[in-house]
């Protein structure tokens, strides 16, 4: 199990498009991938879960990954956050 803090830095936050990219990325891994925000924990493979997090720009989240490919999963999800989900900025 790997835990890592990440911050939402893209302007639009985890709304619609970014949420969709995140779910697609997370779904490509075997590991169980959870995101926590102030005690609320959701499955990163669930688009509705991600939307319910209501994470806007500047929100700090905790990423918890557990499974066979946890290392690559953490890497690529962190990279996705850092790339601002490919938003044009």
């Amino acid at each position: 199990m790997i835990e890592q803090h990440i911050e939402v830095i893209n302007k639009l936050g985890l709304h619609a498009r970014a949420a969709a990219r995140l779910v697609k990325e997370a779904s490509s891994f075997e590991s169980e991938i959870m995101l926590c925000r102030e005690g609320q924990e959701v499955n990163a493979k669930s688009i509705m879960g991600i939307m319910m997090l209501a994470a806007s720009q500047g929100t700090r989240l905790q990423l918890k990954v557990n499974g066979v490919d946890e290392k690559t999963a953490v890497d690529s999800i962190v990279r996705l956050f850092l790339s601002r989900f490919g938003e044009d900025e």
Binding site: A19, A20, V23, M51, M52, A54, S56, D88
Partner: protein, 575 residues
């Protein structure tokens, strides 16, 4: 005649007979199944999911290829929702555990989800409950083998009609468009829903969130949908209908004219070339800037990079943002250094709530006060200048002393970059914003030392007239045509002319077509504005004759009476 208001979508007008969609109040059956039936019941549920998926793909293929990408994004979101464990797996588990039918299991979970979204604080997220409703009702329809709502109307039946519906999914919207509906009205929905976005890009006039529409509007009666005002009109007499038909024709004609204008060069009737540039807030706005054929970026605001965060962005983060804009715009990009303070505080607020933020530590003052904030930005801007023509403009200058400090800081930054072996434009033009009356009054002094001037009318007006624009007890006094404001603008334009440097105007006044001819008459040749304003302003330029305008502008400048000035500006518009 009765007029009802909701949220309008698009600028168009639709007139047609109403087609009221009956809400098929589908009864969701509830029954128990045998343990031996679990497998087939789960299969039935999965088959319904698969059918829904196929239908969504089909709808996706009907969206025109040139529609903006966001109009297709709802399909992607729906497809992900279909795969969401909350929808794909949990109902199946309920079937297994509770031995109930698939419809009931789905209903149980969809209701819980809708309720969760409904309790959200954020209105954007609250609207997501509609997505849940729409996707689950599609699955229910497939479970119950109910034909789609839109296909219950016979082909051709919807042609030329205004569809009135309780709610409309984006998918229905696409299908209706193909059946040539004129417009639609819904009880539910908001202006930022997928349906609204799609209606805009499909150019269907609509009014959404008009509660009670399906109750008040009778099937077959003639209704007018006014997308711009967000109104629907029922029981209009011939006179009113004629007026709307005229407006409808006008909107269409106007749109065609503006489209034709897009590729026209902004040249006055007497052959003077004018430059029209775009104000850009986010790199995303570049698309609009290019679409409007802006001849460059006259003002790239950088504040967004600094807002809603506790730490300022790194040099690298800024560089990648600036270089994106520079690469996309082939012509010159003017980057304004940080203009934070007053109404736009960095998260956490640097200053301890000053009583008078507009007059406090902001913009260039803040930057000079905090080199740790300013220098990374200067480095990033300079590095971006290696990729294409870049200019720097410094906001809120009020004294030459500040200018000295800015020049020193830029010289230091250049030296740092040379040490690092980074490329940049050694001759990068440095300009100043003229937005403090002090700078306008001594514009000649600034013009001697800068490469260009840029008039920021919003602040210039606020500072000149001592009016806080956000204070609604005084904002009626905010007046771009105030003689003092006009004189300061004129001083600045003349100072630039005399020093032989360009003068741009980038405040809201530059994008207001009512003032284009006046500003031309005052000698302005470079206008920078929100890209959406460019066609209107260009039209005024094409009509203008610079041989006549300066005299008129002179008369307006000489007049001290506000009402008379307004009348003269209106008269000048027709010149």
């Amino acid at each position: 005649m009765l007029t009802l208001y909701g949220a309008g979508i698009g600028k168009g007008i639709a007139i047609g007979r109403a087609f009221v969609m009956q809400r098929s109040a589908v009864e969701i059956p509830q029954y128990s199944i045998q343990a031996s039936e679990i497998g087939s019941e789960v299969d039935r549920f999965q088959k319904a999911l698969e059918d829904t998926r196929i239908q969504l793909r089909e709808i996706e293929s009907q969206i025109p290829a040139d529609a903006p990408p966001e109009s297709k994004s709802f399909i992607e979101v729906y497809l992900l929702m279909l795969k969401d464990p909350l929808i794909e797996q949990q109902p199946a588990e309920t079937i297994r555990e509770k031995l109930c039918n698939a419809e009931w299991a789905l209903r149980k979970h969809s209701k819980a989800l809708v309720d969760t979204f409904d309790r959200m604080q954020d209105p954007y997220l609250r609207e997501k409950k509609n997505d849940v409703r729409q996707i689950t009702s599609r699955i229910q329809d497939n479970l119950l083998h109910i034909p789609k709502q839109s296909t219950t109307a016979h082909p051709g039946q919807l042609e030329g009609r205004v569809v009135i519906s309780h709610d409309l999914s984006p998918a229905d919207t696409v299908q209706f468009k193909n059946q040539n509906i004129m417009g639609f009205v819904t009880d539910l929905g908001g202006p930022t829903s997928h349906t609204a976005i799609l209606a805009r890009s499909l150019k269907i006039p609509a009014v959404v969130g008009l509660h009670g529409a399906t109750r008040y509007i009778r099937h077959d009666e003639v209704v007018i949908v006014d997308g711009k005002r967000g109104a629907i009109v029922m029981g209009a007499d011939e006179g009113v209908l004629d007026r709307y038909r005229e407006r409808q024709a006008y909107v269409i004609r106007r749109k065609r004219e503006l489209d034709e204008l897009r590729d026209a060069e902004p040249v006055t009737r007497d052959g003077q070339t004018v430059k029209l540039l775009a104000n850009v807030e986010l790199p995303d706005d570049m698309r609009a800037a290019q679409r409007s054929r802006a001849q460059g970026v006259g003002l790239f605001r950088t504040e967004y990079l600094f807002m809603n965060r506790t730490e300022p962005p790194s040099e690298q983060e800024q560089f990648s943002a600036y270089s994106q804009v520079v690469r996309r715009m082939k012509s010159s990009v003017t980057i304004r250094t940080l203009d934070l303070g007053a109404d736009k505080q960095v998260d956490g607020g640097r200053s301890e709530d000053p009583t008078n933020p507009a007059l406090g530590l902001r913009a260039v003052r803040l930057c000079l006060h905090e080199p740790g904030l300013f220098k990374p930005q200067l480095r990033a801007v300079l590095r971006a200048s290696a990729l294409g023509p870049v200019q720097v403009v410094v906001p809120m200058l009020s004294s030459l002393n500040e200018l000295d400090q800015v020049f020193d800081m830029i010289a230091e930054t250049k030296e740092e970059l040379r040490q690092r072996g980074e490329d940049f434009d050694e001759e990068i033009p440095i300009g100043g914003m003229v937005e403090v009356p002090a700078a306008a009054v001594s514009a000649d002094l600034f013009a001697r030392r800068l490469d260009f001037l840029s008039i920021g009318t919003n602040d210039l007006i606020q500072y000149t007239l001592a009016i806080d624009r956000v204070d609604d007890t005084v904002n009626y006094l905010y007046d771009p045509l105030h003689p003092s404001v006009l004189r300061l603008i004129k001083l600045t334009i003349d100072a630039g002319e005399k020093a032989g440097i360009p003068v741009t105007m980038c405040g809201e006044m530059a994008g207001d077509a009512r003032y284009t001819k006046l500003l031309l008459g005052m000698g302005l040749k470079i206008f920078s504005m929100d890209p959406t304003s460019i066609p209107e302003v260009k039209r005024k330029i094409l009509e203008a004759d610079l041989r006549r305008l300066p005299d008129e502008a002179e008369k307006i400048m000489a007049c001290g009476d506000g009402n008379a000035i307004r009348d003269m500006v209106v008269a000048m518009e027709k010149l």
